[in-house]
Subunit: 202 residues, 2 copies
């Protein structure tokens, strides 16, 4: 009888990706060295180059893209029901950030942010991966910001993603979730502007 | 005759601090190793522990605090004349960010942001230094945001600093200054809100 095929969730490959993501979220590229990924994943030493023949760049790329997909899925799951009320979507988005920061006791943030701030000429291949994470989140957020007109949605979504990255930083430095709340209140208030007058009355 | 005393600007100590700041801005804590600081500063090897007996933590602390002071001075110099017109202060603040990002061809950002995302239990002593940089900038910005009421000034300044940190990240990932412009436009627009009605007519 054939052994059941391991899904990514149970495989050593999946364990390595999860360890890489955790380390990237904690300390960016330099925290996610190959030896440390292997050690933290509990996978057999040497297997990492079997699963990721292109080494650190490959594992970081896959970890970033997987993180982006999961962040978008989580956002949609939590914010879809607020669609039509952009101020509520804005506040909800920053609540998600505060939860994620508290969950790790301020030890982790977005891996794309941490990696971007580590980019140097040797790691420049990862720039596109980081950009793709941000772009994907901006697009998914913009979708949720109806009934604002498309250009306003995109601009607001972009500012929200910037403010979120910065809130992760300031909250981590202060060990305080206030920057998330602050950004949520301010950007939600910015919606009650001329361009939002066509939206539902608030 | 006594030799003239070297000022920090001309001293090997100053060279090391400048090299450390540059490296922290490029890649955070891990980019700013002691050997690399010495190499980039051109200072004699071995002299770094003479000037910074507490090693990397000491040099990073001093580099962060010096950077914060200079950032505040630069902000005041450029934005003081806009005092009384908070929307112009907001836009000017993000223009400064875009200039700094372009100046280094997107290779550098705020060292406090990069260090915060590298913090781990071993480097936790630097958390306060990062927090102090952000706090100092928030307070200086809040001062510039008259005639908004003090609580609003502080909240807006906090959101501005978060959005700036995130704009540095997104601009670096995209090699595009748009996130600065986007944040400036959106946060400036947020000022035309009930709490700003007492300000000058726009």
């Amino acid at each position: 009888m054939a052994r059941p095929r391991l899904t990514e969730a149970q495989s050593p490959r999946g364990d390595m990706l999860r360890a890489a993501t955790r380390l990237l979220r904690q300390g960016g590229l330099t925290a996610a060295g190959m030896n440390r990924i292997v050690a933290e994943s509990g996978a057999p030493k040497g297997s990492i180059y079997h699963f990721f023949p292109d080494g650190k760049t490959q594992i970081a790329r896959e970890a970033l893209s997987g993180y982006g997909d999961r962040a978008i899925a989580r956002m949609r799951e939590r914010l879809e029901s607020r669609k039509g009320d952009p101020a509520a979507v804005v506040r909800g988005y920053f609540e998600l950030g505060a939860e994620a920061a508290l969950e790790s006791d301020y030890a982790m943030s977005c891996p794309a942010g941490a990696v971007t701030l580590d980019l140097d000429p040797e790691s420049d291949a990862l720039r596109d991966s980081c950009h793709a994470v941000f772009d994907g989140i901006v697009a998914a957020l913009a979708d949720l910001l109806t009934p604002l007109p498309p250009a306003k949605r995109r601009a607001l979504a972009g500012a929200m993603v910037s403010a979120m990255q910065g809130a992760y930083i300031r909250a981590r430095a202060a060990r305080d979730p206030e920057p998330f709340r602050e950004a949520g209140v301010l950007l939600a208030a910015a919606i009650r502007l001329p361009h939002a007058r066509k939206g539902k009355p608030r």
